[in-house]
Amino acid sequence: MLGESHIRELLENALRISPADETEIVLEAHDSALTRFANNTIHQNVAEVNTEVAIRVVLGKRVGSAITNRLTEEALEKAIAEAVALARLQPENPEFPGLPDPQPIEPVTAFDEAVAGATPEWRARAVGAVCRWAESAGASAAGALSTGIYELAVANSRGVFAYHVGTEAHFTTVVMCDEGSGYAHRAAWRLADLDVEAMGRSAVDRALRSRNPRPIEPGVYPVVLEPYAVDDILSWLGYAGAGALAVQEGRSWMNDRIGRPIMSPLVTIWDDGRDVAGLPLPFDFEGVPRQRVVIVEKGVPQGPVYDTVTAAREGRRSTGHALPRSRPQTASLGPIPLHLFMAPGEVTLEEMIRQVDRGLYITRFWYTRLVHPRDCVLTGMTRDGVFWIEKGEIAYPVQNLRFTQGYVPALAQVRAVGTERWVLSEGFGFTCVPALLLEAFTFTGVTEMPGH
C-alpha cells in the first residue's frame, strides 16, 4: 500500500512540473491476490502489485493523455511530456468544459485489516474446505477467492485532491454434479461479511438438487429470480442506458420515458457510491464527489447520471459518475452508475415460490448480450439451477433455457420484491439486489445435443 501522504506528495510534485494550462492525475494502486480452484483442487494462485498513473493535460481546449505504471520522477515527467505533445497535435475540442473545481468530499471508511492481511495459506484453507465438502458430496467445485487493497487518488491543477483506500474480497464457486450445478457468489469489503463455507455448502446443495433435469419447452413463464439474475438486469440497465451520453444520443431505454411509469411501482433503483453496505468509492475518476442518484422511483425513470462533459452539455453539474477519462475509448461509454441498489421488498424467497402456481425458479443468467438498446432487450442462458415450480413448491429441476427478453418490460412484470439483498460484483462496480417474482419472462430456446 502506498498511503495517502506518499501519493499526495507524488501527485503534487507531478502537477508542479506540468507545463500545461490544466493537469489532472489519476493514480490507481492494486495489491491483490487470487486463489483459483477447479476439480476440487487449487490450480492457480496468483499475486499482483501494480500502480497506474493516468495523466490528462489541457492546453486551451486541446486534451492529451498518457498512462504509465512506473512511479519514478523521470517516468512521470516523461508521461507528462508525452501527454503535452499529444495535446499540441490535436484540434480544439469546443465541447471540453475544463477540469472540475474542488468540492468537499466526505471520506468513507471501507478498509478491513483482515482482508488486507489475508495470506495465501488462509485463502488455500478457505477454498480447501469448499473442495472437501464438494468431494464428500460426490461433486466437483470450481471457483476463485480473491482479496486485495485498492487505492484511488485524483488530483488536478484547480486544487482537487481526493484519496480513497478500500479493501475488497470476492468469492465465486460453481459446483457440478452429473448434469446438475450450483452457484454462489458474494463481494464484501469486510472479511466477516464473506462466509465462504456457507456459500460452498449452498452451491453443493443446489448442484445436488439440480441433477437429472427434465426437458422443458420454451415459452412465457412466471419466474422467481434469485438476486444473481437480478444483478444481471440492473447491471445492463446501468451500462446500456442509465448514463447521460446514452440518453443524449437517443439510444437509452430512458429516451422519451423520463417521468413516465414504465416499470412496476415496486421497482426503485438508485446509485450510491458512499453507502458502506456496498463497495464504496466516494468520488469519481475526475475527483467529483459521487451523489446518490435515483434512477427509477416506483417504476418511473428519473434520469441518468452525469460526468462533467455530459453535464455541461445540459448546463448541469456532474453527479460524480465519470469513468477514467485518460483512455479515449471510455469517451464512447460516457458516465455509468457503478454502485447500483434496488430497494428491498417485503416478501421472502419462500413466500415468492408459494405465490407461483406454475412457473420457473432461476438461479442466474449467463452470457447475456444486448440485442436491442431501446427496451434493453437481452439474450442469454439460464445456468446453475433451474427448477419447475408447481402449486407453490419447487417440483423438480429442468434443463437450461435461452431467453430473449426486454429487461424494461420484464421489470413492468414485478409482482414481489425480496426482503434480503446480496452484494454482487464481478469486477468493476457492484449491485446490491433482492430476489424478484415476475409475472412473465420470455424463453426462446433450449439445448438439445446431437449425437456423433
Binding site: 504509465t68 449467463w366 452470457y367
Partner: protein, 490 residues
C-alpha cells in the same frame, strides 16, 4: 534487465522451485478516438513489469510486480514459491509439464511501415476524414472513428534454459455510424464491430482498410436500416459474411477446443466444453466442407507470434478435418493430462502445441486461441448467392451469446438482405440466428474461396480470473448454412 530475470530464476530455485519461468513485458499502446467530429483523446499507455511462475512442492505459484529492481525480483520469486506451497496443501497430484522445452531465439512481427513512425497528425487526418464522411449522411446521430497501435516487447526465460525475445506490433481501426429514428436505433460498423479489426501488421493495414472510402456507405446503410423490414421469423438458408463467420468460429469452435476448459479449470468463469476427450478423432463436428486449423504462424494474424508464453514454438494444428474433430489447443500441462487420459494416438502426442498466452506481465498464461481459421472453399460469393433460391445474407456481428458448454448460441447481426431467386433483394433489420453448434456446422454446405478470405482480428477475448483480454485471429470467408432458425426482435 538480463540480471533481473536471472536473479528471479535463481531465487525461485533457491527457495525450492523445481521449475520457474519469468516474463519481462514492456508494452506501449497508442489510442486515438474521434467522436462526432471531435477528437475525444489521444493517449499513450506504457506498461512494464515482470511475472514469475513456479512449480514448488508439485503445485503452481505466480507473483508479479512493476518494480524493476533486483531485490524485488528476489521477493517476487519468493512470493511465487510461497503461493505454490500454499496451493500444494490441497493438491491431488503433482503438476506434470512433460519433457523440458529449451528454446532460444528472437521474433519480430514483420511490418512494412512501423505504425509508431507515422505522425499523429496523419492518423488524425484519416479519422477526421472518415468521421466527416459519415456525418455528411443525413439522419446520422452519432459517429465514431478509432485507431489503436500496440508494441509489446517481451523476454521469456526459464530454468530449463530457454531465453526468448519477441517484439509484437499490432494495428487496429474501426468506424461506426449510429442512426436514430422515432422508435428505432441502428448502428453500422466497418471493417468490423465489437471493438475493431486488428492485425499484427503495420500502417499498411490501416491504409488498406480505407476508412474514409467506406464511411459514406456504412452511414447510408445505418439510415436505411431505420425503415427496413424486420428479418422474418422462419427457418431458412443463411449466408454469413466473413466477419460473422469469424465470430461464429471464435465462439463455437475456438473456445470449446481450449483443453483447459475441457478439463474444467475455467468452469466457474468462462465455462466448460461440449468437446469432451472421448470425441477426439470420432466426433462429426461439421460437414465435409468444414476444415478448421489453429495456426499461430499465419502472417498478419492477430494470434501470430514466434513462441507462446511457455516458450513453445508457434505451430499450425488441425482442429477439424473434413468435418471430423481431430485436435485441441493445448499447454504443456494439459497435453500431458490428455496423454494420460487417452494414451498416444495420431491426435495425442503429449506435447504442447503452443497456445499459452498471458495478457500482460501481471497475468499467468492460459490456453488462448491463436488464429483459428475456417479454411477457404471453392465458391465465389456472387456464385453462392446465385446458387441460393431463397435465404438471408447477414453481415457484421451485433450481439453474441452462447452457453457455458458452447452449444446453444444466438447471434445478431447489424444488417441483412433477403435472397430470392439467386439475387440479393430487400434490406432487413435486426436479424438474429440461433442454433446448436454441431448441427449448425453440419449444415454448412459451401465456403467461399481464398479471394474472400480475411484473417479477422478479435482484440477483446475475455477469459480467466483475474480477467485477461487476449488478441486472437480468425481466417474466414463467407459461408452458407442450411435450415437455420432466424428471427428479429423489435
Amino acid at each position: 534487465m538480463k540480471e533481473l530475470l536471472e536473479r528471479a530464476l535463481n531465487a525461485a530455485q533457491l527457495k525450492g522451485a523445481s521449475y520457474a519461468d519469468v516474463r519481462l513485458v514492456h508494452r506501449i499502446e497508442q489510442s486515438l478516438l474521434v467522436r462526432n467530429g471531435v477528437v475525444q483523446g489521444i493517449s499513450q499507455i506504457e506498461d512494464m513489469g515482470f511475472g514469475v511462475r513456479v512449480i514448488a512442492d508439485g503445485a503452481w505459484g505466480f507473483a508479479s510486480s512493476a518494480r524493476l529492481t533486483l531485490e524485488e525480483a528476489e521477493q517476487v520469486a519468493g512470493r511465487a514459491v510461497q503461493i505454490a506451497k500454499a496451493s500444494a496443501l490441497f493438491k491431488k497430484e503433482d503438476v506434470d509439464i512433460g519433457p523440458p522445452v529449451v528454446q532460444r531465439g528472437t521474433y519480430r512481427t514483420p511490418v512494412e511501415v512501423d505504425p509508431f513512425t507515422i505522425p499523429l497528425e496523419k492518423k488524425l487526418e484519416v479519422l477526421l476524414a472518415a468521421d466527416a464522411a459519415m456525418r455528411g449522411v443525413k439522419g446520422i446521430a452519432a459517429t465514431e472513428a478509432e485507431m489503436v497501435f500496440l508494441r509489446e516487447r517481451k523476454t521469456f526465460a526459464s530454468t530449463e534454459g530457454s531465453w526468448i525475445e519477441q517484439e509484437i506490433i499490432e494495428s487496429g481501426c474501426s468506424i461506426e455510424a449510429l442512426a436514430v429514428g422515432p422508435d428505432e436505433v441502428q448502428r453500422r460498423s466497418y471493417p468490423n464491430s465489437v471493438g475493431r479489426h486488428q492485425m499484427t501488421r503495420g500502417w499498411e493495414f490501416i491504409e488498406e482498410c480505407d476508412l474514409p472510402g467506406h464511411a459514406p456507405r456504412i452511414a447510408e446503410e445505418a439510415v436505411a436500416l431505420l425503415t427496413a423490414d424486420p428479418c422474418p421469423d422462419t427457418v431458412t438458408t443463411v449466408i454469413l459474411g466473413g466477419s460473422q463467420v469469424a465470430l461464429q468460429i471464435h465462439e463455437s469452435c475456438g473456445h470449446p477446443i481450449e483443453l483447459d476448459r475441457v478439463f474444467g479449470t475455467e468452469a466457474a468463469y468462462a465455462g466448460t466444453s461440449f468437446l469432451t476427450p472421448e470425441k477426439l478423432g470420432t466426433f462429426r463436428y461439421g460437414s465435409e466442407v468444414v476444415n478448421i486449423t489453429a495456426d499461430a504462424t499465419l502472417p498478419g494474424g492477430l494470434g501470430t507470434f514466434g513462441w507462446d508464453d511457455e516458450g513453445v514454438p508457434a505451430q499450425r494444428v488441425d482442429i477439424v478435418k473434413e468435418g471430423l474433430f481431430v485436435g485441441y489447443m493445448t499447454s504443456r500441462e494439459t497435453a500431458r493430462q490428455l496423454l494420460r487420459l487417452l494414451g498416444p494416438s495420431p491426435y495425442v502426442t503429449g506435447l504442447s502445441n503452443g497456445t499459452m498466452r498471458a495478457s500482460g506481465w501481471n497475468r499467468i498464461p492460459l490456453i488462448r486461441m491463436t488464429n483459428v481459421n475456417l479454411l477457404p472453399g471453392t465458391w465465389r460469393l456472387e456464385d453462392l448467392i446465385a446458387d441460393t433460391e431463397e435465404g438471408i445474407f447477414m453481415d457484421t456481428n451485433r450481439s453474441w451469446s452462447i452457453d457455458d458448454k458452447r452449444l446453444n448460441f444466438q447471434f445478431g447481426c447489424e444488417i441483412a438482405w433477403e435472397i430470392r431467386g439467386g439475387k440479393r433483394t430487400r434490406l432487413l433489420k435486426n436479424p438474429i440466428y440461433t442454433g446448436i453448434t454441431p448441427e449448425f456446422w453440419r449444415s454448412c454446405d459451401a465456403v467461399c474461396n481464398a479471394n474472400h478470405w480475411v484473417i479477422w482480428g478479435t482484440p477483446n477475448c475475455g477469459k480467466g480470473q483475474p480477467s485477461q483480454l487476449a488478441h486472437t485471429g480468425h481466417g474466414a470467408a463467407p459461408a452458407r448454412f442450411r435450415n437455420v432458425r432466424v428471427f428479429s426482435r423489435k
